[in-house]
Symmetry: C2
Subunit: 289 residues, 2 copies
């Protein structure tokens, strides 16, 4: 899976050229609007280069949100492009709030909502990453909305950053860690959404940085698709991910963004990205076969 985390200061040179030559883009635009146009062009180029090697694309919402309304418009454009290519869209927003606000977030990402102003279209993603700190009743409205729209969620369970240990690895009095408790919640809320493949519509984000832990989390969530960040710059190697694939080839989704997008520089960006994506694909399929 390709992660799209576009940084206005590190876009592919070709994206800048496209925006500079855009007859509609002039000095009247704000810096955020110009940056958002360039970000959209960059994402399109990256998708052109690597989409054949991916099954899913994960835009990091923070990277669009920092460009304001223009960034949000660019995000909608990128999501439409990903869908047109027949790929799965996983919005990486790590949202989480009390029930009424969780319903509002659900409306932002899944399906459409009737309103006095007409039908409000969401971004129409296939899945959203969510934060479970607020508990089951904060997840239910999102699960319901995703499920009604044929989509799903990925619940943070054990993230790949060093600081994850501060809270997620804490031992609970009743046994296990905060992470294993979160894994049980993931398993529980996904039980009603297990498809013919044996996989549930509620998956988990499980950092690919400790094979032992990954095995325990897999045991606690036998039906969950595991979204595995942490390849490349964050440190994990492919072999450490094998436990994710025990339920089958679709049991794990390895995510890489910078390792692919910045595999090359200058005019070699696209070719190097395609090669890096292909190498990662072969490595991941190799784990299962």
């Amino acid at each position: 899976m390709l992660g799209l985390d576009p940084d206005p200061g590190r876009l592919w040179p070709r994206a800048l050229e496209i925006v500079e030559r855009d007859p509609k883009g002039g000095d009247h635009r704000s810096p955020s609007e110009r940056a958002a146009r360039a970000v959209a062009a960059h994402c399109r180029l990256v998708l052109e280069a690597v989409s054949e090697c991916c099954v899913a694309v994960k835009p990091q919402l923070a990277c669009f949100e920092r460009l304001g309304a223009a960034g949000w418009a660019a995000l909608a454009e990128v999501i439409a492009d990903v869908r047109d290519r027949g790929l799965v869209v996983i919005a990486d927003g790590k949202r989480g709030d009390i029930d009424i606000s969780a319903r509002a977030y659900a409306q932002a990402f899944f399906g459409a909502t009737e309103s006095p102003f007409g039908r409000l279209q969401s971004l129409g993603v296939d899945a959203l990453t969510v934060n479970p700190l607020l508990g089951r009743d904060s997840l239910t409205p999102l699960v319901d909305a995703a499920r009604a729209d044929g989509g799903g969620l990925f619940v943070l369970t054990r993230t790949s950053n060093p600081g994850a240990a501060d809270v997620q690895d804490q031992l609970l009095e009743g046994g296990g860690t905060v992470s294993t408790l979160l894994a049980r919640i993931v398993d529980e809320i996904g039980r009603d959404g297990i498809g013919a493949t044996g996989l549930a519509d509620v998956g988990a984000v499980t950092g690919a940085t400790a094979p032992d832990r990954l095995e325990a989390l897999r045991t606690a969530m036998p039906h969950a698709i595991l979204l595995l960040p942490g390849i490349g710059p964050q440190g994990a190697t492919g072999e450490e991910l094998a436990p994710a694939y025990t339920p089958g080839r679709a049991g794990g989704l390895v995510s890489a963004s910078r390792a692919i997008v910045y595999a090359g520089t200058g005019s070699a960006c696209a070719g190097a990205a395609a090669q890096a994506a292909n190498t990662l694909r072969e490595l991941v399929w190799g784990l299962y076969s």
Copy 2:
């Protein structure tokens, strides 16, 4: 503090009239754009009615986000309006992500960022609510950005929803609960940002639904401003909030949204909202005196 959680299906009637009569708003606009115009008008009317009774305004980002780019533009407008009225803006986004993405979120909310496209302006809020599940290294970039811009954070510590018990109330093997661990983290990262008043720039969201717990959290975070949702529809009464105010009048920020905005109906909306806001203000100041 006024919470702004605008629901396109429950806007003040006057907001709908304003948008219907807008010469620039026509049928060419999408439902989301029309809804976003009405949401902005509604928020302006609510602010006109109650801003004199508030010290801060807390827009719920989910309610704007569900309207896409147009909603994000409305949010920017509402935030500018709140600032023009001299009130503190607390963006209720409950964001939280690994370091590089946390930096991107920080750019969305605090200060301005240099880029090859010029200076990218953030929403320019005074504070943001954040989710600490990813640990200290996920909070640091946000604290740094807020502090550099003279702003602050409110870290989720014990939320007001029933489901909060699922994770936040879990007992840890080493003593205390997940919430008290989060409170220690809040206290720790706020230590470098304690101002002349004795209050830190890192506060906590602590649901106003259990006075015993509130007292323990206050003890763990003697310098934190406590953001207290849960008044009104969520169930807490004002008296239960007294422990929040031990460090002084600014030690607690009681948040109410629906209890104020929907205090009356029809043409009585504005008057009833002003009265409800004033009643709440008197109750809260009464706790301290």
